[in-house]
Amino acid sequence: MTGFTRRKMLTGAAAAAAGAVGSANLTTQTAAQTTAADDADRKLFVALSAGLTGIDKERLSPTVDPIQIDREYFKQAKTDPAFDGLMQIIRADPSNPEAAAGKVLFNSDPNIMYLGRSIILMWYLGAWYEPKTLQKFNSSPPRPPYPPDQIISPAAYTQGWTWRVAQTHPMGYSELLFGYWSNEPPKLEAFIRKLS
């Protein structure tokens, strides 16, 4: 985030010097740089998410993806104050998301640890549990159900991974055909492992 901030400041100074004539081009360039940086961070976020969730990253963010739920989740996660600290862990070793996930979830900073859990639940349930809510649950376990702080979006509900892990579809969102329930589902791997 430091680099991003510096780029933003430098661009701002250059734009002021260039005056009104050049400002449109510079703004476009800034947006492109910002987008590129953001995209790189989002990809790291997805990689870390794969380690956290146990779901292959290509499943979480397919190459061809009209839904692009990862963008919604990335945007939601960024709103948390501990996000930058969480991302530094995966940046330090982007080649090993499983290890990074472990460092997040066993972090000495509870803000990072609970944000990691919030991110897992976001992928699994399409819902956002504030890290503070999860922390509160642990200090004083409520009787279920545990209502989330918010549903990310209608699309997010339909993309919840807990359904696929149960080898099924979200309730209310079947893409299957009549009678499928009389037969065994495909194996778990077919739902969550790397696409061949």
Binding site: G54, A166, G179, L188
Partner: protein, 623 residues
């Protein structure tokens, strides 16, 4: 505006649920002019908005897709601010917090206790059958003869054979999938075939079925039973029918089928409107029924609004030759009891002395819910919410002593019991054990998480026992003459007041259900996880009597009995054709006419009763 839409209708119907819609369609087909007053929102061109609301809802309860909004800025919508309010399961929670069942700012029904009435309903186009399961069982012959056969309660003024042909018509009109060969138990016979083949069994059903030969249930009157799993007749398409799609197993019949493979009354309403003889005035609340000096109903007052929480935009009175109240078994008696006048000092259809029965004998199927893990995967959360049940226990000599029950096998894992898969997922991610499945309360992630969740979720299943409730005159809907404003709706009408309890007969039925559930789980080698309810839970009772242990009963949404049929007005409100004993041009239709509730889900039976009533009106009254 209402009168202009359909001037001088032959029939005025209050309520566009399945009862009102079916009768309107039958009358419209035969050229009778019908105007329906519907308290809630209009029939939409499709269900997309309802689906979006459902998908975005944090609490995916039966009411969640439908207006009015469940939540306001600070919590549950205050029913005082809504023109056509309705109850929600979210306001059945302990006193003192969110969803307090006794708080009129959160709960639409004014619950007077001693226990909470657990069922809810919709006031919207299509009524409560918008969010039904689709189960379309016939009653068994004994259900109509409780007094004669078991010396309990009352007989119906009709028998199974009187309703048999109307059952067949109802199955055709709403579109039921089933096979006669699976349904002719306990004396049920058929003179017609179902219009569609049965819905296939789920893997969960098959696993329960395997345990039936070895099942023994002692001490509840079921010792010698030959246990059997039966496919459940369902108003859910197994073939394209009525221009609707085949079921795709969305596992979401309640609250909403996203493809309308499950029947809902919007289908019948569309047929009714297509006759050109039926019209509906939406957002139009019937507020008072008038009776003239000859004892005939002379008109119904209405209040129309535009916004759910807005002021009325029109008031007036409508007249017709014949009047049909088809609200539900709470809203219909509410309207009758609100309609006090010099002619009707106790309310309409409620006699002039103190022997009237309007609002009394409120019933439901108190539902005992039990859940377990099988010893191998059965892959729940797939298929329709339920595809089979155990029906052979619906009748027997034990009905002299306790309520009977049927058993519904659920295909939705532990969604009903603990709102899974969400709860178990949170447990395993956050190191909790509310589900009982994460015994070490250990947080997991990565592959360990996927494996643990898959291993647990794929073995979940539940059983629901629909218990026969006794008709008790102390269980009732009332409408006091004077109440503070906070007990009214936004139109200034007093909300329904409910007094409710479970009799010993009903409780013994619930206790037998509990015993049977545990025996089934044992026979399946399944591990039971049914939890003990807390003492402050308003839908529980102590059992055994005098002990601190409790049994929880859920509402089944099967509201019945408050304008029951019978031969005399001393102990009933309508005759076998659902015509008021007191007013010959007034009909009160729906499950409110049931003298006893039996064990089958009530919709098919109330549909059959309504078709019989429509036939009578067409051929005998409005010839």
């Amino acid at each position: 505006m209402c009168a202009e839409r359909m001037p001088n209708p032959d029939v005025l119907i209050v309520g566009s649920g399945i009862a009102g819609a079916l009768i309107a369609w039958q009358l419209g087909r035969k050229g009778r002019k019908v105007l329906i007053l519907e308290a809630g929102e209009a029939l939409p061109p499709d269900i997309n908005d309802y689906m979006k609301t459902f998908l975005a809802a944090k609490d995916k309860v039966p009411e969640s897709p439908y207006p009015p909004a469940l939540f306001g800025a600070t919590g549950l919508t205050n029913p005082r601010t809504v023109n056509a309010g309705r109850p929600t399961v979210l306001s059945l929670l302990p006193k003192g917090g969110f969803g307090d069942w006794t708080d009129p700012k959160q709960a639409y029904l004014i619950q007077k206790g001693p226990r909470a009435f657990g069922s809810t309903y919709q006031r919207i186009n299509g009524g409560t059958v918008r969010h039904w399961l689709g189960t379309s069982l016939r009653f068994v012959p004994s259900d109509f003869e409780m007094k004669s056969r078991f010396n309990r309660f009352v007989d119906w003024p009709i028998k199974y054979r009187d309703l048999e042909r109307w059952y067949g018509d109802a199955e055709k009109y709403i579109g039921v999938s089933a096979d006669v060969a699976d349904q002719n138990y306990l004396g049920i016979n058929f003179s017609s075939n179902y219009p569609m083949p049965k819905i296939p069994l789920s893997l969960v059903d098959m696993e329960v079925e395997k345990a039936m030969p070895n099942l023994k249930v002692a001490d509840v009157g079921l010792d010698d039973l030959k246990w059997k799993v039966s496919s459940t007749p369902a108003a859910r398409n197994s073939q394209p029918y009525q221009a609707r799609r085949v079921c795709a197993g969305n596992t979401n019949c309640i609250p909403i089928c996203p493809i309308q493979a499950k029947y809902d009354p919007s289908v019948t309403l569309a047929f009714a409107l297509r006759t050109g003889n039926v019209d509906v005035s939406y957002k139009t609340v019937a507020s008072k029924v008038y009776v003239d000096g000859n004892g005939r109903v002379s008109g119904i007052d209405f209040i129309r609004y535009d916004k759910d929480d807005g002021d009325p935009v029109e008031r007036g009175r409508l007249t017709a030759k014949l009047y049909i109240l088809a609200g539900n078994a709470i809203e219909t008696p509410r309207l009758l009891l609100m309609s006090k006048s010099e002619q009707t000092p106790n309310g309409v259809a409620n006699r002039r002395d103190d022997k009237g029965s309007v609002g009394k004998y409120l019933m439901d199927h108190p539902l005992y819910l039990a859940w377990a893990l099988t010893d191998k995967p059965v892959w729940g959360y797939r298929g329709p919410l339920s595809t089979a049940g155990i029906e052979v226990c619906r009748d027997g000599r034990f009905r002299r002593e306790r309520g009977a029950f049927r058993i519904e096998i659920g295909n939705e894992g532990w969604n009903f019991p603990i709102q899974d898969p969400d709860t178990t997922t949170v447990d395993f991610v956050n190191g909790l054990n509310g589900s009982g499945l994460n015994k070490d309360s250990k947080p997991l992630f990565g592959t360990g998480l996927t494996c643990a969740l898959n291993e647990k979720l794929s073995r979940q299943f539940r059983l629901g026992f629909l218990v026969e409730q006794s008709p008790d005159d102390t269980n009732r809907v009332t409408v006091p003459d004077q109440v503070p404003d906070e007990l009214k709706d936004h139109l200034g009408l007093t909300r329904p007041h409910i007094t409710y309890d479970l009799s010993e007969y009903t409780k013994r039925g619930m206790a037998a259900a509990k015993t049977t559930a545990s025996a089934i789980f044992k026979s399946m080698n399944a591990e039971e996880f049914t939890t003990e309810p807390k003492a402050d839970d308003p839908i529980t009772f102590e059992w055994p009597p005098g002990q601190t242990t409790r049994i929880k009963y859920f509402g089944a949404g099967h509201i019945a009995g408050t304008h029951r049929m019978g031969e005399r007005s001393e102990n009933s409100v309508v005759d076998s054709l659902q015509r008021s004993h007191d007013h010959e041009n007034l009909y009160l239709v729906g499950s409110g006419s049931f003298p006893t509730i039996a064990t089958a889900n009530p919709t098919l039976t109330l549909a059959a009763l309504c078709l019989r009533t429509a036939d009578h009106i067409i051929n005998k009254v409005l010839k």
